[in-house]
């Protein structure tokens, strides 16, 4: 017997969650999903003329899902409609085929190879759904046939095609000088026919200096210089954004085509152009190895949602809004500190510094100017020339005033001064910083002694600003229209006549703005993660031979051991753009143990 809070049990009604009893629903209601998938690949290699090979690949991958959910007609909210049953079926079928022509020949110290190819992909997805009310005999039939009143049915198919032509050439001289070049032309059904093709180039080379005869230093075991330049295309937006879109629906039984989305005809591929320059080295008899790389990744014709005033009848549309630049340096180091027969100790360290900014926006997309950067606003983000992408566009909190009320900044239109106001709606928006870290990377160490091995790894990220929505929710003041909830203990530090030195406004029932969206809840997104630790023992060879095995190792390990962030419960690692919610799952801590046996 569960209490639905409607007075049926003991005459007492419950103020919140009226007509709900989740535990009962969990026991009675049905929710199932059955799925299957299969994939097949096939290929043929046909060698005809010497050094020339034709490869034909084909692959298909099919997944199907059938959902069935039914809510019981006995209790709760669904009682009045006799319970409801819904069934859905989804299928995605991916078909890919490639035709590749390979040529490879060695002329003395020169090796040349070339590849010419064509690729085609088609994804088809189909959906079928049905929903009915009034389940006749819930315990016996929870399919559509067991219910009486039709609610809705629907079905549709979606397609996506990509076709590509490509060429790649490679050359190496004596295994110490390498060069390659490639070209790719891709067309996507996501763009209008007159804008659907994109061309992408790349070329690169590497030179292993240590293999040159004139290279003298003996302490340098290996030095390789490498450089590359390449482009890729990105079309990862939904379908049909190149055209205005209309929904078909019934209005009083007659057909109507209701405008739904705005399209932009000339949207096309977003191009990423990467340039890498770097070197790899091994020093001191491989005691110290590593690589340093400088990279520059420019995204041109960035596909981004451009917001417009809603008085136009739509919110915005996808457009190739501009160019973005990512520039950075990456350093990787591995050092074997101690290397003896019985004992080895190594450490590794890597660090990356990336600088991101939007390098160009076309004139028509510059509708605002903030702090010297022209651009446009997209909800809580500002897309501005010279600023990192996803820069925060947020109201600035100015602390509490003498009455304990929260205040925010606004800029006086006549004098240009920043002033404070207690009216959240009239506060202005300002730039709030970038969610991207200044540096990130990892470090770790490994030890090996007397058959035991220990590996420890950490990951770190320093810098960036993320929004702590969980904390914001727990710092709000109670009000009539929200259900009771948990509150953060920082509310105990709220302003009062005795406690005036605080940033937490006075605790006031019904004040909706105490925890309004502002930079009060923007937190430093630095984290340190203890990523993994593994301890193992390899049994000595003689012992193992007696067991007719070639090796035997025991190990225990733990992944995602712990992390440290700026506030307990705040995990900025769950989001790339700094939007952190308290219901996003952090990577789970898993512990495992095992035996590895080789025969």
């Amino acid at each position: 017997m569960y209490d639905y809070g409607n007075g049926a049990v003991n005459g007492v009604t419950r103020e919140i969650f009226l007509n709900e009893a989740p535990l009962q629903d969990d026991r009675l209601n049905v929710s199932t999903n059955s799925s299957n998938s299969y994939g097949m690949q096939g290929y043929t290699d046909i060698s005809f003329i010497e050094d020339l090979k034709l490869t034909l690949n084909v692959s298909i991958y099919n997944t199907e899902n059938r959902d069935n959910d039914a809510s019981n007609p006995y209790y709760g909210f669904d009682k009045t409609r006799g319970g409801q049953v819904g069934v859905s079926h989804y299928r995605t079928f991916a078909f890919n085929t490639q035709q590749l022509l390979n040529y490879s020949k060695a002329f003395g110290k020169h090796t040349v190879s070339a590849l010419l190819g064509h690729e085609f992909t088609r994804n088809t997805s189909t959906t079928l759904t049905g929903r009915k009310n009034n389940i006749f005999a819930f315990k016996m039939n929870t399919e559509l046939a067991g219910a009486l009143s039709l609610v809705s049915t629907n079905s549709y198919k979606n397609f996506y095609n990509i076709e590509g032509f490509f060429f790649r050439g490679q050359y190496d001289y004596d295994n110490k000088l390498f060069a390659s070049a490639s070209f790719r032309r891709d067309g996507s059904s996501r763009f209008h026919p007159s804008h659907r093709w994109g061309n992408f180039w790349s070329f690169g080379g590497a030179w292993i200096l240590t293999k040159e005869k004139w290279f003298k230093p003996t302490w340098m075991d290996m030095l390789k210089l490498k450089a590359s330049f390449g482009q890729q295309g990105n079309d990862a937006i939904g379908d049909f954004y190149y055209s205005d879109f209309y929904n078909l629906s019934a209005v009083n039984g007659e057909g109507s085509l209701a405008f739904s989305n705005k399209g932009k005809r000339d949207i096309t591929w977003e191009t990423n152009t990467n340039m890498n320059l770097g070197f790899e080295f091994e020093l001191f008899k491989q005691r110290l190895t590593g690589s340093v790389e400088y990279y520059q990744r420019k995204t041109t014709d960035m596909l981004l949602w451009f917001s417009v005033p809603p008085s136009l009848g739509y919110d915005g549309y996808y457009d190739n809004v501009g160019d973005m630049m990512n520039r950075g340096v990456e350093l990787n180091l591995d050092a074997d500190l101690i290397r003896t027969k019985a004992f080895t100790w190594a450490m590794n360290f890597n660090i990356t510094h990336n600088h991101n900014n939007i390098s160009y926006l076309p004139e028509q997309n510059k509708t605002l100017e903030k702090e010297g950067h022209a651009g446009y606003a997209n909800s809580s983000r500002y897309v501005g020339e010279g600023l990192p992408i996803n820069t925060w566009y947020i109201k600035k909190y100015a602390g509490v005033n003498e009455q304990g009320l929260g205040t925010w900044y606004y800029t006086d239109a006549t004098t240009g001064d920043m002033k404070t106001t207690t009216d959240y709606s009239s506060a202005d928006y300002y730039l709030g910083g970038s969610p991207h870290p200044d540096v990130y990377g990892g470090f770790g160490t490994s030890l090996r002694a007397y058959g035991f091995d220990l590996n420890v790894n950490f990951i770190y990220s320093l810098g960036g600003k993320a929004y702590d929505s969980g904390y914001e929710g727990m710092m709000r003041n109670p009000e009539p229209s929200i259900a009771p909830q948990a509150y953060h203990k920082d509310l105990l530090n709220a302003w009062s006549a005795e406690n005036t030195n605080t940033t937490v406004p006075r605790f006031q029932y019904g004040d909706l703005n105490t925890s309004a969206f502002s930079d009060r809840f923007l937190v430093d997104a630095s984290t340190l993660t203890f990523k993994s630790i593994t301890l193992g023992y390899t049994f000595p060879a003689q012992l193992v031979k007696k067991l007719q095995l070639s090796s035997l190792r025991l190990f225990i390990s733990c992944d995602n051991v712990a992390y440290w962030g700026k506030r307990k419960g705040f995990d900025p690692r769950t989001s790339l753009d700094g939007s952190v919610y308290d219901n996003s799952y952090s990577p789970m801590r898993t512990a495992s143990a095992g035996i590895s046996v080789k025969f």
């Binding site: 409607n6 009226l18 007509n19 043929t44 046909i46 690949n57 084909v58 009045t80 409609r81 085929t97 035709q99 064509h118 085609f120 088609r122 929903r131 009310n133 009143s149 609610v151 809705s152 549709y156 397609f159 990509i162 059904s189 026919p193 659907r196 049909f240 055209s243 205005d244 879109f245 209309y246 078909l248 629906s249 019934a250 209005v251 009083n252 039984g253 057909g255 109507s256 085509l257 209701a258 405008f259 739904s260 399209g263 417009v308 005033p309 809603p310 008085s311 136009l312 009848g313 739509y314 919110d315 028509q364 509708t367 446009y376 709606s425 009239s426 928006y429 009539p480 229209s481 909706l512």
Partner: protein, 573 residues
């Protein structure tokens, strides 16, 4: 030979893998612009999308199409006090909170109207007007223009800031220079660039813009016979003109500066695309209001009869000749996943349902203002629409009332509960049938009241009183006992407002009259049936602060030239 056979087999296997040409794909759901051009009768389908826009769901719990916005307007007054606030979706209007630009009233109203306007503009853009345009296509244009005028009328009245008597708001409005400003105008010719730069249109431009649309619609709908009550015909245009002229009449009578402003801008170059109004005084406007009201009536509309009013299966849920314009909901219009099962008009305004919150389970009963009820005379047959406190809970009084309930259930309803609205076909359980109702947007009764009010201005108070008395005694009183006792114009205005509050209970109409006549909203008085937390009185001679709607902050965020109204949240005595 073997080699040859092998080659054939390989080629045979290889050939299917050689396919692959980028094929044209079409959407699985919906239509692209190009497909639209190739569809037969796309103008008709685009035109049908306009009344469909009246069903647009908003984010707020109380926003289910136009009816939800009408409920917002009702609850901003003192019209439909709720019995229990627990499931009241209109607490914002009750407590006077969350009325700022970031909250649902601001952010749901704005896109509702502008998406409706976009659909009108699309239809206007799709039908070129030449000498070969068929009568049917002209009717689509007329319909689109009429609905566009309807949307702009609503917005012009709702968003224009009127004095509230609270200095913190009035002086901010003064400093921000927003007096007399309405909303930006969007037509089929407005470009995206213009939309990010333009400003709120001043009242004198807005009135002419709306009137021009109505003039054109009147012409194109000449002779058009509509097939359903959600399509606009000439009588609706007359009705809208009557409303607009009445707004202008009241405004110019109160403020001669506004009248001068209107007249002085009559010959502006920039406004030459709009028709001139051709008036010189407030009475000119009142004359036209009465004239058009009478024209609307003469097109075959008459007041709701007593039998129609008190019908428990068709009362106020089925359009008839009393209704000039309606929202019409069909079972299939209620798409799944949009919460139509509990977010609907019937579930909020009629207690005879199990799928909403206005019922015996959730107890969000809607009542009439107790003070208003007490003024309803015994001879007015509309009185038994609401439960008399003397009859509440008594099963022997049950037979006086029209309801789908049986006596025992009816007796559980509290005093003042309204029994005006009913689910379709008496269906109380299945929302797909019960909530698929017609909702009135404009009724003939309003035309009679506009005529009477207007006459009082240009023909004299006695003429107005006579018109009102005749109308009520003919159509609303069984015993001819109505007598209008007003001695001043202001008293007469109060009486007209009182009649509108009784007649249009739950229809969202009187908001426009409160704002036009600058009447106070009174919820706190001895014997009030408004919830304790909602009992605020606004200032006499001024508009209630909550009735000056804020522009959506999504609009002001993308257009720096738009200045918002001051936020009325928590502004009360």
């Amino acid at each position: 030979m073997k080699q040859f056979i092998k080659s054939i087999i390989f080629l045979g296997l290889a050939v299917p893998t050689l396919t692959g040409c980028l094929e044209e794909v079409y959407p699985g759901q919906g239509f692209t612009q190009e497909q639209l051009k190739e569809t037969d009768n796309s103008a008709a389908a685009l035109s049908k999308a306009i009344p469909g826009a009246f069903l647009r769901m908003g984010n707020g719990n109380g926003h289910y199409g136009y009816a939800g916005l009408a409920m917002d307007r009702e609850t901003m007054g003192a019209e439909i006090p709720v019995y229990s606030t627990l499931y009241d979706f209109y607490q914002d209007e009750g407590f006077d909170h969350q009325l700022g630009p970031e909250y649902y009233v601001a952010t749901d109203w704005w896109p509702f109207y502008y998406e409706l306007i976009k659909k009108c503009n699309l239809t206007l853009g799709a039908v070129p007007i030449t000498e070969f345009t068929s009568a049917e296509e002209l009717a689509y244009v007329g319909n689109a223009l009429g609905y566009r005028a309807f949307a702009y009328y609503d917005m012009a009245c709702a968003y224009e800031y009127k004095k509230t008597g609270f200095t913190q708001l009035d002086s901010k409005a003064e400093a921000d220079k927003i007096y007399g400003l309405t909303v930006p105008i969007r037509t089929e010719f407005t470009t995206q660039q213009e939309a990010t730069k333009d400003t709120r249109a001043p009242f004198y431009a807005m009135y002419r813009f709306i009137m021009t649309d109505l003039d054109r619609a009147e012409k194109y709908l000449q002779g058009y016979k509509r097939t359903s009550a959600n399509m606009i015909d000439q009588s609706v245009i007359f009705g809208m003109k009557a409303r607009l002229w009445l707004q202008m009449g009241s405004r110019f009578e109160k403020s001669s500066t506004d009248l001068q402003a209107q007249i002085s801008h009559e010959n502006d170059e920039a406004l030459a695309i709009y028709n001139k109004l051709g008036i010189t005084s407030a009475n000119d406007c009142f004359k036209k209001a009465a004239q058009y009201a009478r024209l609307a009536i003469s097109q075959g509309h008459r007041p709701t009869t007593k039998a129609e009013w008190f019908n428990s299966t068709t009362g106020f849920n089925t359009a008839n000749e009393a209704w000039l314009l309606a929202v019409q909901i069909n079972s299939n219009d209620m798409t799944n996943g949009s919460h139509w099962n509990w977010k609907n008009f019937v579930g909020n305004m009629s207690s005879e349902n199990t799928f909403g919150v206005n019922n015996l389970e959730y107890k969000a009963f809607r009542e009439i203002d107790a003070a208003l009820y007490k003024t309803i005379e015994a001879g007015d047959w509309r009185k038994s629409t609401w439960i008399d406190p003397a009859d509440a809970g008594k099963t022997d009084a049950y037979s006086k009332y029209t309801t789908l309930f049986k006596a025992a259930e009816w007796a559980q309803l509290p005093a003042y509960t309204g029994l005006k609205f009913h689910p379709r076909s008496g269906e109380m359980k299945n929302y797909k049938v019960g909530a698929a109702v017609d909702i009135p947007l404009m009724r003939a009764e309003e035309m009679y009241l506009i005529e009477a009010e207007a006459k009082a201005h240009y023909e004299g108070l006695e003429a107005g009183k006579q018109a009102l008395t005749n109308y009520l005694n003919t159509y609303r009183y069984d015993d001819g006992s109505y007598l209008c006792n007003a001695t001043t114009m202001d008293g007469f205005n109060d009486e007209i407002l009182r009649q509108k509050r009784i007649e249009f209970w739950g229809e969202g109409i009187v908001f426009f009259d409160y704002k036009r006549l600058e009447k106070a909203v009174i919820r706190r008085y001895d014997g009030s049936n408004h919830p304790e937390g909602y009992q605020f009185n606004t200032k006499a001679g001024y508009v209630a602060p909550r009735m000056n709607i804020c522009l959506s902050h999504y609009e002001t965020m993308y257009n720096e030239n738009l200045v918002n109204n001051p936020n009325p949240t928590n502004v009360h005595e």
